[in-house]
Symmetry: C2
């Protein structure tokens, strides 16, 4: 596969893993239900996504940069909802 | 930052975004509670992770390969739990 094909594959993968968070964001914002959501997961995940963003810039891997920029906003909003949930069940 | 530093950053990012799923996996397997988990999110996410895996191999970006291989297993198990959940609330 040539360079253009590999880049295109990267963009498709980026779209899938990034847009994946949309139904989760919609559900959590609509229902304010984050009971089964793990705060530990989203804290670690958002931090890692941020580092991927920096990595992508330094390595000039633009699908990585694009994907993680949008993912950071989406996953970050879920993290925020979980963090500020008015529920005692914040353990996971 | 030199090549070695960039690769190291990639591995740190990979650890964070991959290990992030562990608390979510533990919670879901322990409680079988996937109510707030979006099936749409994990279906799209796992497919995207698989494509990132292929991208990483073709682009020889080994942090990308390592991260997405493990992530696929972890996120895949959450997807499976949600898919097979004996609950009517499978909508998100």
């Amino acid at each position: 596969m040539n360079d253009w094909g590999i880049q295109a594959l990267g963009y498709v993968a980026a779209c899938l893993t990034t847009l994946a968070f949309i139904p989760q964001v919609v559900y959590c914002w609509r229902t304010r239900d984050t009971t089964s959501i793990s705060l530990g997961m989203y804290t670690s995940f958002c931090l890692g996504v941020f580092l991927w963003l920096v990595y992508g810039v330094l390595a000039e891997q633009w699908p990585v940069v694009a994907a993680n920029l949008v993912t950071f906003v989406l996953a970050g909003s879920i993290w925020w909802l979980k963090l500020t949930a008015k529920s005692p069940r914040n353990r996971p």
